[in-house]
């Protein structure tokens, strides 16, 4: 029998890779019996969903004006150089 610490690692790994069938079943069984690991797995899923929405929450962030000006200058310079070639 695996202990909770190992199940925690497997639950995490399962989010990005496919585990062998027998291990998946073992994890499933453990989660059915263990309240703490069950909660942990649920909380990881919630965290993952939040990670995926971080991008939307950045909606109000934009390039600072000075940075924009600097980039524009560099671009203009590069374009002029390439047309002079």
């Amino acid at each position: 029998m695996r202990h909770c610490k190992q199940i925690v690692d497997l639950v995490s790994q399962e989010m990005e890779s496919k585990l062998p069938w027998s291990i998946r079943m073992e994890v499933k069984m453990h989660l059915l019996m263990c309240k703490n690991c069950h909660r942990y797995a649920k909380q990881l899923k919630f965290m993952q969903a939040e990670l995926n929405t971080l991008e939307q929450n950045l909606n109000t962030v934009s390039l600072a004006e000075p940075a924009k000006e600097r980039i524009k200058k560099t671009l203009t310079l590069a374009i002029n150089e390439s047309t002079n070639d």
């Binding site: 925690v8 990881l44 939040e50 600097r70 980039i71 671009l75």
Partner: protein, 187 residues
């Protein structure tokens, strides 16, 4: 196809590219540099643009490569990382010697209202910023970007897939613990 002006791209997609980069490299100046490099690269390789995707998608594709290059150039000092990651070993007080939970986990009340959600996002970002650098990088590269395993190991200096999985799991334990303390136990 007519040549497009990178200055127009800057106006149209500058913010989009900036946000994308900022989320992944978590440094404003680096993100600004990456936007500039991306627009320049787009200008130089415009003849390779096939028109199969939109210009913005194409530019984001270039930016992705630039971000990976950035990580490659700033490869972490592995020794330093390991001490960072092992410092205040969270697993030690989450699990007993037999590997069972020391304390019971509380059920989380998920943030429901919009205001709640905004405040939660702040805490969430704070908890991410508290992670050791490589752990945060790993979270983004592997669990959001889905960068392939071999490349992830190479970029972040993991010696084996297993070492990466274990570290990713510890990262999540840390993040969960921080959220639990600063949000869910505050309620």
């Amino acid at each position: 196809m007519t040549q497009q002006s990178p200055e127009t791209w800057l106006n149209d997609y500058g913010d989009l590219l900036y946000r994308y980069a900022l989320l992944r490299v978590r440094s404003e100046t680096t993100a600004e540099d990456l936007v500039q490099e991306t627009l320049l690269a787009g200008f130089v390789s415009w003849d390779k643009f096939t028109g199969k995707s939109s210009v913005s998608t194409w530019l984001v594709g270039i930016l992705k490569h630039k971000i990976i290059d950035f990580f490659r150039k700033h490869r972490h000092e592995v020794k330093q990382i390991q001490t960072d990651e092992l410092a205040d070993d969270i697993l030690a007080y989450q699990f007993d010697n037999e590997g069972n939970w020391q304390v019971d986990l509380v059920e989380w009340d998920m943030p429901d209202t919009q205001m709640n959600q905004q405040q939660f996002s702040k805490i969430f970002n704070m908890c991410i910023s508290r992670l050791p650098q490589r752990m945060a990088d790993l979270l983004f590269l592997r669990s959001i970007e889905n960068v392939p395993m071999t490349e992830c190991c190479d970029l972040l200096g993991f010696e084996s897939d297993n070492q990466l999985w274990v570290t990713l799991s510890r990262t999540r334990v840390k993040l969960r613990q921080c959220l639990n303390t600063h949000w869910f136990e505050q309620g």
